[in-house]
Symmetry: C2
């Protein structure tokens, strides 16, 4: 996706410790036109891989919401975002899954109301980053609890150096990354 590649090369910065700063366009200030294109591109790639009949996009708050929403717009389906704190509106009626958070050095529990995931659902998970894959593992666990079918997983950016793809491969579903990043010293590079 050329517009995304250009944006990464011109605006992303490496901060050390594996952390890539993309807050100029992805996860703090959101480039709306690019985000719409990202949704369209996920939709195009899902279709190109023959993944059809998707009826829901699932993500986790916070940074996953924007790309999940534009992908759901492109597919014409609802988007569900997992909460990191169980809201009062969900009490006693949620799936939950606790995962270790690498970036926050703490455990995070993800919650989705039982109302919005069921065995009839065909799900694609969309998130901003694939790092070591912890958040995704938590979302997969929620989907498993519900009996829904996970059809694919999409990431805007994959940090290839954190090996998350290896951790998710056993799921046996297509993993789509719109851009794959690696580090050459302190420099971010795009890899095919």
């Amino acid at each position: 996706m050329k517009s995304l590649d250009r944006k990464i090369l011109s605006e992303a910065a490496y901060l050390g410790n594996g952390i890539i700063k993309v807050d100029r366009f992805l996860n703090h200030c959101v480039d709306t036109a690019l985000m719409t294109e990202i949704g369209n591109e996920f939709s195009r790639q899902l279709s190109a891989q023959g993944i059809t009949g998707i009826n829901k996009i699932v993500t986790a708050e916070t940074s996953g919401i924007a790309p999940a929403l534009t992908t759901a717009q492109a597919l014409g389906v609802p988007m569900v975002f997992a909460r990191k704190k169980q809201p009062v509106t969900m009490k006693g009626n949620g799936y939950s899954s606790s995962v270790h958070s690498h970036t926050k050095e703490d455990r995070v529990t993800l919650h989705i109301s039982k109302e919005f995931l069921s065995a009839e659902d065909r799900i694609v998970i969309i998130d901003d980053f694939l790092g070591v894959g912890e958040t995704t593992t938590g979302l997969v666990e929620l989907i498993k609890q519900s009996g829904a079918r996970l059809c694919a997983i999409g990431f805007v950016l994959e940090k290839t150096y954190e090996q998350g793809r290896k951790a998710l491969n056993h799921l046996g579903v297509p993993i789509i990354s719109l851009a794959r990043l690696d580090l050459q010293g302190e420099k971010i590079i795009l890899v095919p």
Copy 2:
């Protein structure tokens, strides 16, 4: 906005203590088509009120992100969401404002990187709910710190019984609510 009114009357539920459950379409499972319409409607009403030259939409994580994004899409501008925890990518370079959270019964500090708010900006704040107006007050404070101009504030739903409009009136900017809700006993009603 008829589609939103219908959705409220058929899907919103009153949980007591002033809490309205709209997680079926607004803040957990997001009705993508309705959210796109919401963005278009904010854009239409801003234009009808002669509010032009907006170059940024500002909101707070988490539930503000979806309506802020679709409004920014409709206006063709970027969207910035305030963080409730200062991320490592912002350290030492953020505006911040601490507000009391009515729903969380705690103080919440909002952060926006100085990179994304400046005196040249013409801002509209978009959020999901107007309750007592605490989050909005925090966002207004960040905008003031930056010298940016606040041009209007938009809410998908206004809980008229929490009087947030009164708390924001002194700002002297238009306050747009797409639906104004009141309670009749345990029943949610729409008010003009």
